[in-house]
């Protein structure tokens, strides 16, 4: 991830640090990562995409455990990574932390946590963003 340098990273900070997505002002659909226009409303949505902070709660759709990783992640193997469906609808890819690897399951309730993602061996830059951990309190909603 060294290509593009620092600007490439800080450009995405609001989204990666705080889970800020976009909501279409025309149909109400919510997108994360943010989109410039709504694929369903297209021209009607231009200029009407509003920032929206996501709750950070969701559920595991599918997952894997990475054993062979790119060099920026080599120190972390083996690590679980999942597609998480957020309460508001969007799905994102993120690491699952703070639990045993064998406890990671499809359907598991998880929530956002702010963590160090990777370390660039060449520049020494450390990149932060979201990971997900098992939900602390029991959830009553689906």
């Amino acid at each position: 991830m060294t290509i593009g340098g620092v600007a490439r990273f800080w450009r995405e900070i609001p989204q990666r640090y705080n889970l800020i997505g976009k909501q279409c002002g025309s149909c109400g659909r919510i997108y994360f990562p943010p989109r410039e226009s709504c694929p369903y409303c297209r021209r009607k949505s231009i200029g009407k995409m509003r920032d929206i902070k996501l709750s950070g709660k969701g559920e595991i759709v599918t997952y894997t455990v990475i054993h062979v990783a790119p060099h920026n992640f080599e120190g972390q193997v083996p690590y679980p990574i999942a597609i998480v469906q957020l309460e508001e609808g969007p799905r994102i890819t993120a690491q699952i932390v703070d639990c045993k690897i064998e406890d990671v399951k499809i359907g598991m309730k998880v929530e956002y946590t702010f963590r160090r993602i990777q370390e660039d061996g060449y520049t020494g830059a450390i990149y932060y963003g979201y990971k997900f951990k098992p939900c602390q309190q029991k959830q009553n909603h689906q």
Binding site: V61, T64, V68, T93, A94
Partner: protein, 388 residues
């Protein structure tokens, strides 16, 4: 639009070819195809070449002109076009060449596909392949390319009861086919146990569920179908060509276990060819990972969704089955020089339809299908071919 035929094929050996350069490989595949078709350089109207990432693999861009130059055509000033669609670059090169002949703009077109991957280390090759995924929203967070396919496998096993053994069977079958293909990277059979006990890459996928890092090139010669018999006794007609796209990231799709790019590209190709999945005698599908073959045969309509894992036990996709899949060994055993793959698949189908596949020949094969995927399904190209 006019009908288009393939009148010549050429392929190099696939593998980690330390002694062969990018230039040597493409020149070898191209000249084999040109000699096979019996055409001359001055007849060529255009060259289309698929290459995923020459810039990262060998530090060389401007691949279109380079391919024309290394093939000895610089003095003929033939238009040369490089196309890129990740691992589907080869299939896309064929589709672009096909469209240019079908349109009437060109008569004789050379299609090539190439990748020289082994000049960089394994880690660098893996990272370059990951550029076919979403760099900002998948790779940044630690998802690898095998990891993304592994998440499809986890979901397929959960939703449809597909087993670890069924994944491994794909590798066993394709290695057995590869053992019969003189150009394959791996020419040895492997056991189910060996696949399952191989070191893990991304659970549930192990090392032997993944296609290898490969060097290689392949080439095809196209011409208008009405002129094809002038060049060869065994022309093969392109009766359907389909292409579709989808989101770069797997997570952005509603369905994890279906590649809609495959569904749409196949629908386009079947419609043009006026054929259904039942009409296909032999197919090469994009098995970059074992799970990829399972979902490909479902999305192409060869079996019902969820039934892909049983296709080998049910004797459907095996060499003596009702619809043999990846007779060449597939990406898994034949090798996967990414830009070459889509072209190499069609070389295998043409070889089968000509009846020249020797020990791996599918009896009475007249209609074949080639399925080439880019990334984890953000691009797909499907071609249907028929012996003339």
């Amino acid at each position: 639009m006019r009908d288009v035929a393939i009148i010549g094929i050429g392929i190099t050996k696939f593998g980690e070819l330390w002694d062969k350069s990018f230039r040597q490989l493409i020149a070898e595949a191209g000249s084999k195809a040109i000699i096979d078709a019996g055409i001359e350089g001055k007849e060529i109207d255009a060259i289309y070449v698929g290459s995923m990432s020459a810039g990262r693999f060998i530090g060389q861009e401007h691949v279109g002109a380079l391919v024309a130059d290394s093939s000895g055509f610089a003095h003929l000033h033939i238009p040369a076009i490089r196309v890129e669609s990740a691992c589907a670059s080869g299939g896309l090169a064929l589709r672009q060449g096909y469209l240019s002949v079908a349109s009437g703009m060109n008569d004789i077109v050379v299609v090539g596909g190439i990748e020289k991957m082994s000049d960089v280390g394994g880690t660098a090759a893996t990272e370059t392949l990951a550029t076919a995924a979403d760099q900002e929203w998948e790779a940044f967070f630690g998802a690898t390319f095998p990891g993304i396919y592994a998440m499809i496998a986890t979901k397929h096993m959960h939703d449809y009861g597909t087993t670890r053994e069924q994944l491994a069977q794909v590798a066993v079958k394709n290695h057995a086919n590869g053992a019969l293909n003189p150009n394959a990277q791996f020419r040895r059979e492997i056991s189910l146990d060996t696949v399952i006990k191989a070191p893990p890459v991304a659970q549930p996928l192990g090392l032997l569920d993944c296609s290898p890092v490969s060097d290689g090139a392949a080439s095809l010669i196209l011409c208008p179908a009405e002129k094809a018999k002038k060049y060869t006794d065994k022309p093969v007609k392109i009766i359907g060509s389909g292409q579709a796209s989808d989101t770069l990231a797997l997570h952005a799709r509603d369905s994890i276990c279906t590649f809609n790019s495959t569904v749409y590209a196949a629908r386009m190709a079947y419609k043009q060819a006026k054929k259904t999945p039942k009409d296909i005698d032999v197919a090469e599908v994009h098995d970059c990972f074992t799970i990829a073959e399972i979902i490909a045969i479902e999305d192409l309509g060869f079996v019902e969704k969820g039934e892909g894992g049983k296709a080998i036990d049910n004797n459907i996709t095996t060499l003596d089955g009702s619809l043999p899949v990846n007779t060449s060994g597939g990406l898994k055993a034949k090798g996967h020089p990414v830009g070459a793959t889509g072209v190499a698949q069609v070389v295998e189908i043409v070889t089968q339809l000509r009846g020249e596949a020797e020990k791996r020949q599918v009896k009475d094969a007249t209609i074949g299908l080639a399925h080439n995927v880019g990334g984890c399904g953000a691009s797909c190209i499907v071609h249907i071919l028929e012996a003339m």
